[in-house]
Symmetry: C2
Subunit: 354 residues, 2 copies
C-alpha cells in the first residue's frame, strides 16, 4: 500500500502524540529510531502534541482541537496509547477512536510477523490484519431506555458499502504486494446476514467492480469470526491478509499478537487516503508505566510501517531488519519477552543494528 | 448450577436433534453413552426431532413448530449442529439461534478443560465460558437503506439489565461450585460505555442486589474482550468462570477450544430456568460428514453436562471420567486429535471405560 514518496519533500513533519502511560516511553524511542535514519528520509521535524486520559483529568479535554489542527499540517504522526476508563466518565471519549474518524484514517493495518531463527528462513506467522477503522459498533450510537424489566441499552452497528469497499480495496492492494496474494474476509454473516452480508459481498465484488483486472490474481477466502480465531491459533499459516469489520479486527489483531509472543511487538498504522499515523497495538499499560521497561519495538516498528506507507521502503526495511536482529539475538529484551533490559537499552540495541 | 433431580422422575425424555452434517453421527454417539449408563439415571426415552438447513432445503422450514412443541414435552434435549449458509437465504434463519430464544435457554455454558497426564494432576486449562444466549447482536434486528454513498446496513445490539442479571447469576452459581470461585466479566465498555457498561455494572452489582451474602466469597475480575482473547492464549490459567455477552462469548469459547486441541472436545449446554439442551461447540463440518470420522467426544461430554444440569452429577462424572481416560490413553482418537479411529470406535472405547 506504499504510495511513492513525493520527490520534492524536503522535510518530514511528524506529529507525536504519546498519550498516556507507556506512550511517554515508547514514542520517544520511535522518534529516536527515525532520527537515526539520517539521510534515508527527509529530515524529520517533530511536533509534540497532546491527547489522552491524563490530559482529560487535568485539562478537561481528551483530544484538543489544536492537536487535530496541528496534525493536518503534518505529513504523518505517531500515536502512543491511551488509557480508556472502563466506567463511563462524563465528557470523556477515546481520542484514538475520535482521531481515526476525524482524520478519516479508515484502515488499521496490523502486520503480525514472527522472527525466524535466521533472516533466510520463513517466519512461522506472517499475516496482516486490515481492520476497518471508522464504523461498526465504533460509531458509538448508544441509547438507554427503561422497559418493563429494567434498563435496556442499544447500540447501532453500522456497515456501509462505501467503507467496506475502501477497506477491501486496501486489503487487495496490500495482498498484491505479498507473495501469496490471498485475502480472507472475516465476518459473521450466518447470523448478521444484512450487515456482515454487506461487508462480505462488497469486498467479494471488488475484483469485478474495480474492473481493470488488477486483482485477478488474488485468492479470496472467508471465515466466520469465531472459527477464524480458532483457526488462527491452530494453523496461523492459512492466513495472509485478513480483512475485517472494526470490532472483529480489534479482537483478531490482539489474538494474532498472542502468536508472536507479545503485544509489545505488534505495530500498526491508521491509514487514510492522505494521512498515516503509526500506533503500537498495545495499550498504555499503567501497571508498568514510568519504569523504563516497556517494550519499544511495537512503536519502533510502527514508525517503520508509517514510512512504508509514506513511500520510504528502504528506510523502513532498515528499521525492520534492525528490530528483527535484536529479537533474533535475544540478548537485549524487555521483561514481556522474558528479558531484563530497559526500554532505552532495547532502543540503543536497535540503533546499533541500523 | 445443578438443580437436584426430581426424585419422582421415572423416565428421562430426551429430545434428539441431530441437525446437519456430522450432527447425524455425533448425536447417536451421545445417545448411546446415555443408554450405557443403565440405572444411574431414569430410563431415557428418546424423541427424534428435525431441524436444520438440510431440512429447510427439502421441506422449506428449518425449525418446524412440531419440533419446538415436542421439546416442551421433553425433560431435556441434545442438539447436534446446523450448517449456516453464509449468503442470505430468503426464509432461512438459524434454528439453534431460534431455539435458544424460543425456549428461553438464556445461558450457553461451555466448560473448556484439558486432560492432565493422570487423574491426580491438575489440568492446564480449566475454565468455563458462560455466554449470554438471547440478545446482543443475535436479536437480528437488521435494516438496509441506501444513502448518498451506497448501501448502509445497520444492526441493533441489545443488552438488557434483565438478561445481564440472569446470566451473571448463572455465572456466580457456577463459580460457587468451583474451587477458585472467580468470575471474569468480558466486555468492551471502553468503547461501548452504555451497552457493555450496563452488562458490566449489572453483573458487578449481583452480590449486592441478591443481597443474602451468597456470593460474598466470589472474586470478580474483568477484561476488555480484545485483551481477554490475547491473555486467554498467553495465560489461560488466569481464568475460572468467564461471563460474556453473546457475541464475545461465541468468539471466546472457540478461542478457548483451540487451547485444548480441538473443537471436537468442547461441550456446551444451552440452559434456561426449566430446560437444558446439550450441544457440542463444533459445527456441522460438511467436509467430513458421512465418513464416520467426526469426533463424538464433544457431543458425549454435552450429554454429561446436560445430566449435571438436570441433577445427576454421579452419572455425568461416569461419562466424563471415561472420556478423559480415552483421551489420556491416546490410542483411539479421531483424526482431529491426530488419531486414525472412527467415530464409532471412539464411542465404543468410551462405553468400555464406563
Ligand atoms: C483503546 C481502544 C479504544 C482501541 C480499540 O478498540 O480500537 C484498542 O483496543 C485498539 O485496538 O487500538
Ligand atoms: C452457528 C452459529 C449461529 C452459532 C452461534 O454463533 O451462536 C455457533 O457459532 C455457536 O457458537 O453455537
Amino acid at each position: 500500500m506504499a504510495t511513492a514518496a513525493p520527490a520534492n519533500r524536503q522535510k518530514l513533519r511528524v506529529g507525536l502524540i504519546p498519550g498516556d502511560g507507556i506512550g511517554h516511553e515508547v514514542i520517544p524511542a520511535a522518534r529516536a529510531a527515525l532520527e537515526a535514519l539520517g539521510s534515508d528520509i527527509p529530515k524529520p521535524e517533530f511536533v509534540d502534541l497532546k491527547a489522552g486520559f491524563e490530559l482529560f483529568t487535568r485539562a478537561g479535554e481528551a483530544l484538543p482541537e489544536e492537536t487535530v489542527e496541528a496534525l493536518k499540517e503534518c505529513d504523518c504522526a505517531l500515536f502512543g496509547a491511551v488509557s480508556s476508563p472502563i466506567r463511563k466518565v462524563t465528557g470523556y471519549s477515546s481520542p484514538i477512536v475520535a482521531l481515526r474518524k476525524q482524520l478519516d484514517l479508515y484502515a488499521n493495518v496490523r502486520p503480525v510477523l514472527s522472527v525466524a531463527a535466521s533472516p533466510e528462513e520463513k517466519p512461522d506467522v506472517d499475516l496482516i490484519v486490515v481492520r476497518e477503522n471508522t464504523e461498526c459498533l465504533y460509531v458509538k450510537q448508544e441509547s438507554l431506555t427503561t422497559g418493563e424489566h429494567g434498563k435496556e441499552a442499544r447500540a447501532i452497528r453500522l456497515i456501509t458499502e462505501r467503507a467496506s469497499h475502501r477497506i477491501g480495496k486496501m486489503a487487495f492492494e496490500i495482498a498484491l504486494g505479498r507473495p501469496r496474494k490471498q485475502v480472507t474476509i472475516i465476518h459473521k454473516s450466518n447470523v448478521l446476514a444484512i450487515t456482515d452480508g454487506l461487508f462480505r459481498e462488497t469486498v467479494r465484488a471488488i475484483p469485478r467492480t474495480v474492473g481493470d483486472g488488477r486483482y485477478d490474481g488474488i485468492k479470496i477466502e472467508e471465515q466466520i469470526v469465531d472459527s477464524a480465531v480458532y483457526r488462527l491459533f491452530r494453523e496461523p499459516q492459512i492466513y495472509d491478509v485478513m480483512v475485517a469489520p472494526n470490532l472483529y479486527g480489534d479482537i483478531i489483531s490482539d489474538a494474532a499478537a498472542a502468536l508472536v509472543g507479545s503485544l509489545g511487538l505488534v505495530p500498526s498504522v491508521n491509514a487514510g487516503d492522505s494521512f498515516v499515523m503509526g500506533e503500537p497495538v498495545h495499550g498504555s499499560a499503567p501497571d508498568i508505566a514510568g519504569h523504563n521497561i516497556a517494550n519499544p519495538l511495537a512503536a519502533i516498528r510502527s514508525a517503520a510501517l508509517m514510512l512504508r506507507h509514506l513511500g520510504y521502503p528502504v528506510a523502513a526495511g532498515k528499521i525492520d531488519r534492525a528490530v528483527d536482529e535484536v529479537i533474533r539475538e535475544g540478548q537485549i529484551l524487555t521483561p514481556d519477552l522474558g528479558g531484563t533490559s530497559k526500554t532505552t537499552d532495547v532502543l540503543d540495541a536497535v540503533i546499533k543494528q541500523m
